[in-house]
């Protein structure tokens, strides 16, 4: 980079010609007018995000720091929640090998306990007619009585 200062003289003169590329005067008047109109319409009002991004665009290091903090907080909370779930699972199952999921966590999957219906098909052969659920054939209120298979006593 220790070049001769005159090395790029011609190039610099050539590039300087681009200074002549200018918009017409009326264009610039119109430009400032448009900016003023947009500000007066309320586009110039800053919200929280604008304020943050204004800080960030002027200090990119602040943006990186903010991003790192947010990522760190998210990773930490994800890690902490995962760890907490594992601890709870270990506490409830005892062994910690399997995760015990409480049934109440899936209410849609819990079926109401209904008596076993047996042989509805014996009484209704028409598949389009939905049969009413029947109570169990067995009377659940009866108590089990030991049976004796011995006779003659």
């Amino acid at each position: 980079m220790n070049s001769d200062p005159k090395e790029f003289d011609t190039l610099r003169k050539l590039m300087a010609l681009k200074r002549h590329e200018q918009p017409p005067r009326e264009y610039l008047d119109e430009l400032s007018h448009s900016i003023r109109m947009r500000i007066e319409r309320g586009e110039g009002r800053a919200n929280i995000w604008d304020k943050l991004s204004a800080h960030f665009s002027l200090r990119p290091s602040l943006a990186y720091a903010f991003g790192l903090t947010v990522c760190g907080a998210l990773s930490f909370s994800a890690f902490y929640m995962g760890k907490q779930e594992m601890t709870e699972a270990a506490d409830s199952s005892g062994s910690g090998t399997f995760r015990a999921v409480p049934v109440s966590a899936f209410p849609s999957q819990v079926q109401p306990v209904t008596p076993l219906h047996v042989a509805n098909w014996l009484r209704n052969t028409n598949p389009s007619v939905e049969s009413q659920p029947q109570l169990s054939l067995f009377n659940t209120s009866r108590q089990v009585v030991p049976v004796s298979y011995q006779t003659g006593y």
């Binding site: 610039l28 110039g44 304020k51």
Partner: protein, 208 residues
């Protein structure tokens, strides 16, 4: 600057001397929601900001949008402006960041639109000297030259293009460019060197 208090900022002192309202006063008024004061700031710097953005994009419509966005964003952020740098440097920084982001997003959609921009370089003594008898491009016309210069600029990376624009076209110092682009002077110098080397290769026909 005789007769003026010595502790005044350079910008303030110069403005007082010229009988103009200083940037700092206008900024302070604009921070109190004086849109007229901000309008005056826009009028002062829009031409330079437009030129920078235009030389970066080589597109009039894009430059127009970006300049508007720059000044609106600057107005929104004006309350955060503490006066550590001049308003001019501060707004330039917003324009530079906005333009570089825009160019990165639209890398594949760059196209030149030069019809609305005047190129009145015919009488420039540098051009007359360049197009001398030794130059193999005696027959070059303004439109072609403009096209070639912009084409060569678009081949540079955004950061190299920005340094050439600010230094060789707009005449800013290395220190000012460093402050605007958020890098040190050494980086500015090295970017300028490599950018010029590339431009020299692209424009070799015009530099013999």
């Amino acid at each position: 600057m005789a007769g003026l208090p010595s502790d005044l900022p350079e910008d303030e002192a110069e403005a007082l001397e010229n009988g103009k309202v200083s940037d700092l006063t206008l900024v302070q008024n604009a921070q109190r929601d004086d849109v007229g004061a901000y309008d005056e700031l826009v009028r002062r710097y829009q031409e330079r900001i437009y030129a920078t953005v235009y030389h970066m994009t080589s597109n009039h419509e894009d430059a127009n949008d970006l300049v508007q966005e720059t000044f609106i964003k600057a107005y929104r952020a004006l309350k955060t402006f503490k006066g550590d740098s001049s308003f001019y440097t501060w707004v330039y920084r917003i324009a530079v960041n906005k333009t570089i982001n825009f160019l990165k997003q639209r890398k594949n959609r760059l196209h030149m639109s030069l019809n609305d921009v005047d190129f009145n370089a015919e009488n420039d003594p540098d051009l007359v000297a360049l197009v001398s008898e030794k130059t193999p491009r005696r027959d070059l016309n303004m439109a072609e030259l403009q096209d070639k210069l912009n084409g060569a600029m678009l081949k540079l990376s955004e950061h190299h293009r920005m340094v050439v624009t600010l230094h060789d076209i707009q005449g800013l110092s290395h220190e000012e460019i460093g402050e605007i682009m958020g890098c040190n002077i050494g980086t500015v110098r090295s970017r300028l060197f490599y950018a010029r080397q590339q431009l020299q290769a692209y424009l070799t026909d015009y530099l013999k």
